[in-house]
C-alpha cells in the first residue's frame, strides 16, 4: 500500500471511476469551461431551430454527444485563405511524418525515463517487444479480457484526455494519434488499479485472477 500515495498524484481518478455513459461525457461545468475545446457542446440547440436554421450549419451540431466524432465541416469556414489552410495541412502531415512520434516511457522503479518513436513500429507486437528489450522485462500476451494477465508488468499510456489506458485496447492507428506518454506499471499496480476510495475498498495483494475479481466486484 506504500506505493499508493505516490500514484494518487499521477492517476486521474475520474478516469478510473466506473460509471455508465460514453467516455468524454458527463464533465462538470467547471471542467467544461476549462477545457472548453474538448466537449464543444453547443447550448440552446432549440434556439437555433427557432431561427429557421440553415441546413448547412445544423449537421455541425447534431453529433455533440458522440466524442470525438468529427463535426461536419462548413464550406469556407473558418475564413482563412486556402493557401494558408493547405499549408497548415501539409505542415501537419509533414511534421508528423518526419519528426516521428517521440513519447516518454516511464517504468516504475526506474531512475530515469526513456523516449521512443512510435512511428517506427508497425503495431503492438513490435512495440511491446521493443519495450521488453529496452527495460529488460517480459510483458507477455495481450488479451482483451485479461489485459496482460500473467505478467508482472502492464504497459499503459496517457491519452489526449489525460486518462490512463491499457495499451492494446484500441486499433493501432487510433493509439498512435491518442498516445501522449507511456508508463509501464509494475507489480500490484499492474494487476489492479486503485479506484475511488468511497466505492471500493483497496485491495492489497491479488492472485493472478485479481483482474477478473475486481471487475466482478464493481459490477
Amino acid at each position: 500500500m506504500g506505493g499508493g500515495a505516490a500514484y494518487e498524484n499521477d492517476l486521474n481518478f475520474k478516469a478510473t471511476e466506473l460509471r455508465l455513459g460514453l467516455p468524454g461525457t458527463g464533465c462538470t461545468n467547471e471542467e467544461q469551461a476549462v477545457s472548453g475545446a474538448k466537449n464543444n457542446k453547443r447550448p440552446l440547440l432549440e434556439t437555433r431551430e427557432e431561427r429557421g436554421s440553415k441546413e448547412k450549419s445544423d449537421p455541425q451540431h447534431d453529433d455533440q454527444e458522440t466524442d470525438p466524432a468529427p463535426k461536419a465541416r462548413i464550406v469556407g469556414w473558418p475564413p482563412i485563405r486556402s493557401y494558408r489552410k493547405n499549408s497548415l495541412q501539409t505542415k501537419k502531415a509533414e511534421a508528423e511524418a518526419a519528426a516521428g512520434m517521440y513519447v516518454k516511457v516511464s517504468m516504475d522503479g526506474a531512475p530515469y525515463l526513456r523516449k521512443i518513436d512510435l512511428k517506427v513500429y508497425k503495431g503492438y507486437p513490435e512495440l511491446l517487444k521493443a519495450l521488453e528489450n529496452m527495460f529488460k522485462l517480459t510483458i507477455g500476451e495481450y488479451s482483451e479480457r485479461e489485459g496482460y494477465n500473467g505478467s508482472e508488468y502492464a504497459p499503459t499510456y496517457e491519452d489526449k484526455e489525460g486518462d490512463w489506458m491499457l495499451v492494446g485496447d484500441v486499433p493501432w492507428d487510433m493509439f498512435l494519434t491518442s498516445c501522449k506518454k507511456l508508463r509501464i506499471m509494475k507489480g500490484s499496480e499492474a494487476r489492479g488499479r486503485k479506484l475511488k476510495s468511497d466505492r471500493v475498498s483497496f485491495l492489497t495483494e491479488f492472485s493472478t485472477d485479481g483482474w477478473k475479481f475486481r471487475q466482478e466486484e464493481s459490477e
Binding site: 469551461a33 472548453g36 475545446a37 464543444n40 453547443r42 447550448p43 440552446l44 437555433r48 431561427r51 429557421g52 440553415k54 448547412k56 450549419s57 455541425q60 463535426k71 465541416r73 462548413i74 464550406v75 469556407g76 469556414w77 473558418p78 475564413p79 482563412i80 485563405r81 486556402s82 493557401y83 494558408r84 489552410k85 499549408s87 497548415l88 495541412q89 505542415k91 501537419k92 509533414e94 511534421a95
Partner: protein
C-alpha cells in the same frame, strides 16, 4: 489658379499622391481634370471588371503603376469556383498594344498565365516591380521570363500564390548584369531553388533590402546569404528544421550580429525552436514579426522570443501562442498596432485562444488599431472591455471557430459586445463578426459605424431588417459580403441606388431569389448582377422563386463582362 501654366499645376498635383485626393482634384474643373489625368502615374482599380483597360489608358496615358483586384474576397475561402474570372491578360495586352510605359504591376486574386508574364517581360522596357498576392495560373516558367528579360527589375514579391513549380531554374535566369534587386520574396514557392544561383544573385545585389526565402533554403545557406547581405531590412527565413551542428549555428550567430538593419522577420517555415536564441539578437529592433507559418514555434521558446521584441508594431501569430502567450505580448509590446492570430488547426475546430487573450491585448497595447482574431469563444463583457480600452480600432475582425456560438458565459447573443465596439471605435473602417448575432447588432452598426467601408457577415441576423439597418445606416459602405443569413428580396431591393455607391455586394446562402436579383438587375443597368450557378438543373429561365445560391453584384462602366464562364449568369 487659372493663371498658372499647366506645368505649375502639374507640379503642385505631384504632391497629391493618394488616389482619393487625386480623384477629388480631377473633379474641380475641366482644366484640372485634364492636367491631373494626363499626369497621374499610379492607378488603383479595386475591381478589374468595373472599367475597361482601354478606358483607363485613354484617361491616364502617363500611367506607370497599376494595382488590379479580381475575384471577390470570399474566393479566398473557396466560395467561388475556379475559372470564375479575374484574368489580367486583357489588361496587359491592352497596355502593350498602346505602348504604355508600365513599370509596376500589383495584382490581387487574379489569374495570370505564363504567357502573360512573358508578355510583360518583353513589352515594358522599364518594368521594375511585380507584386502578386493570392494569384494563380502561372508557373516558375513565367517567373523565369521575368527574371531573364526585365533588366531593371527591382521588386519580385510573391505572396501566398498558388504557383506550379517546375523546379528551381528560374533563379538562374537573372542575368549577371542584373544588379538592381531591392526586394525578392519567393516564400510561397513549393519547390527547390538553385541555391548557388541564389547566393550569387544576393552577392551582386547591393540594394537588396527585402528577402523572403522558401522552405527549400536551409540554415547553412541562410547564414551565407546573411553574410553577403548585412543591410537587409526585411528577412523571411526559410527552413530552420535541423538541429544545426555548432559550427553552422555559430556562423549564423556571427552573421546575425552583422544584420543591424533587420526590422521585419518572417518565415521559419519548418522550424525546430531550439535555435531561436540566435534571433534574440535581432528581436530588440523588430517592428514586424510574422510567425503565422511556423507551427513549430510555440510554448516557452515562443514566449522567450516575444519578450525580446519590445518595439514590435505588427505581429502575425498562430493561436498556439495561447492566452498566456498573448499576455506576454501585452506586457512586452507596448507599441503594438496590428495583430493577427490565426488558427493552427482549423479542421479540428479548437482554437487555443479565448476572450482572455483579447482583453489582455486591449489593456496592454493602447496603440492597437487593427486586429484579426480567430478564437474558441467570446463574451459580451470582454468585447465591451476591449471597446473601452481601445477606441482606436480601424479594423476589427473576430472569428469564433463555431460561427453561431453565443456569449460563452451568459449564452446571450454577442449583439451588445459588437455594439460596444462600433459605438466606441468611431474610426472603424472594416468589421468582421461571428458568433450568435441577431438583428439588433445591425441596428447598432447602422447607428454608430459611420466610417465603416467594409463588412463581412456570416450566420447572423433574424430578418430582412438586419440588412436594411446596415444599408440605411452605413453611408460610407463600399463592400458588403454576406453568407448564410436570412436576408431576402425585401432587404436586397430596399434601396437599389445604394449599390452604385458601393464597389460590390456578395450574398450567398441567403434568401434572395432569382426573381429578386432579376428585378434588381432591371432597375440598375449600371450594375452587373451575376449569379453563380453550381447546380446542373437550373437555367436562366428557371423559376424565379428559386433561391439564388450565390450572387455577386458590382457597379461597372464596362457593361457585362465577356469572359464569364458558363456557370456565371449576368442578369
Amino acid at each position: 489658379m487659372n493663371y498658372f501654366p499647366d506645368e505649375v499645376l502639374e507640379h503642385i498635383f505631384d504632391f497629391v499622391t493618394s488616389q482619393r485626393d487625386r480623384n477629388s482634384v480631377s473633379q474641380v474643373c475641366k482644366p484640372w481634370y485634364k492636367i491631373e489625368s494626363s499626369s497621374r502615374q499610379k492607378v488603383f482599380v479595386g475591381n478589374c471588371y468595373a472599367i475597361s483597360p482601354e478606358r483607363v489608358i485613354e484617361r491616364f496615358p502617363g500611367l506607370k503603376s497599376i494595382t488590379l483586384k479580381g475575384k471577390p474576397h470570399f474566393a479566398d475561402f473557396n466560395l467561388v469556383p475556379p475559372d470564375w474570372g479575374g484574368f489580367v491578360y486583357p489588361w496587359i495586352e491592352a497596355f502593350a498594344r498602346n505602348n504604355m510605359g508600365l513599370e509596376e504591376l500589383k495584382l490581387k486574386r487574379m489569374i495570370i498565365s505564363d504567357e502573360c508574364l512573358e508578355l510583360i517581360s518583353r513589352s515594358f522596357a522599364n518594368f521594375k516591380s511585380l507584386v502578386l498576392v493570392s494569384c494563380e495560373g502561372f508557373s516558375t516558367d513565367g517567373l523565369a521570363a521575368i527574371a531573364s528579360n526585365c533588366s531593371f527589375l527591382r521588386e519580385l514579391d510573391l505572396q501566398e500564390n498558388d504557383v506550379e513549380d517546375h523546379r528551381g531554374h528560374w533563379l538562374s535566369c537573372f542575368p549577371d548584369t542584373c544588379t538592381s534587386l531591392v526586394s525578392l520574396n519567393f516564400a510561397c514557392l513549393k519547390g527547390d531553388v538553385n541555391l548557388a544561383a541564389l547566393e550569387r544573385l544576393v552577392a551582386r545585389s547591393p540594394n537588396l533590402r527585402s528577402l523572403r526565402l522558401n522552405h527549400a533554403v536551409p540554415l547553412d545557406i541562410l547564414q551565407k546569404i546573411l553574410m553577403r547581405a548585412p543591410h537587409l531590412v526585411d528577412l523571411g527565413v526559410g527552413s530552420y528544421v535541423h538541429d544545426p551542428d555548432s559550427e553552422t549555428y555559430n556562423k549564423l550567430v556571427t552573421a546575425l550580429q552583422k544584420c543591424k538593419s533587420v526590422r521585419s522577420l518572417s518565415g521559419f517555415l519548418e522550424a525546430a525552436p531550439q535555435c531561436l536564441s540566435a534571433f534574440h539578437l535581432i528581436c530588440p529592433n523588430l517592428t514586424s514579426l510574422n510567425l503565422s507559418y511556423a507551427p513549430g514555434i510555440h510554448g516557452t521558446e515562443l514566449r522567450k522570443l516575444i519578450r525580446h521584441c519590445r518595439k514590435l508594431q505588427r505581429l502575425w501569430i498562430l493561436d498556439c501562442i495561447g492566452d498566456e502567450g498573448l499576455e506576454v505580448v501585452a506586457s512586452t509590446c507596448k507599441d503594438l498596432q496590428e495583430i493577427r492570430v490565426f488558427p493552427s488547426d482549423p479542421f479540428v475546430g479548437n482554437a487555443a485562444v479565448t476572450e482572455v487573450g483579447l482583453v489582455a491585448l486591449s489593456s496592454g497595447c493602447p496603440k492597437l488599431h487593427s486586429i484579426l482574431y480567430f478564437c474558441q469563444q467570446m463574451t459580451n463583457a470582454a468585447l465591451i472591455t476591449v471597446a473601452k480600452n481601445c477606441p482606436n480600432f480601424t479594423r476589427f475582425r473576430l472569428c469564433i471557430l463555431d460561427p453561431t456560438k453565443p456569449d460563452a458565459v451568459t449564452n446571450q447573443p454577442l449583439d451588445e459586445g459588437f455594439g460596444a465596439i462600433v459605438h466606441s471605435c468611431k474610426g472603424l473602417r472594416r468589421l468582421s463578426m461571428s458568433g450568435r448575432l441577431t438583428d439588433k447588432v445591425f441596428l447598432y452598426i447602422g447607428m454608430y459605424a459611420e466610417q465603416l467601408e467594409m463588412i463581412s457577415i456570416a450566420f447572423a441576423g433574424d430578418t430582412d431588417k438586419g440588412m436594411q439597418y446596415l444599408l440605411n445606416g452605413c453611408k460610407k459602405l463600399r463592400k458588403l459580403e454576406i453568407r448564410d443569413c436570412p436576408f431576402g428580396n425585401a432587404a436586397l431591393l430596399m434601396d437599389v441606388g445604394k449599390y452604385e455607391t458601393m464597389r460590390s455586394l456578395w450574398m450567398s446562402s441567403c434568401n434572395v431569389t432569382l426573381g429578386g436579383c432579376k428585378s434588381l438587375a432591371k432597375k440598375m443597368p449600371m450594375l452587373n448582377v451575376e449569379i453563380i450557378n453550381e447546380t446542373d438543373q437550373m437555367d436562366i429561365s428557371a423559376d424565379d422563386r428559386q433561391k439564388a445560391e450565390k450572387m455577386f453584384l458590382y457597379r461597372t462602366l464596362a457593361g457585362r463582362r465577356k469572359d464569364a464562364p458558363e456557370f456565371v449568369w449576368t442578369l
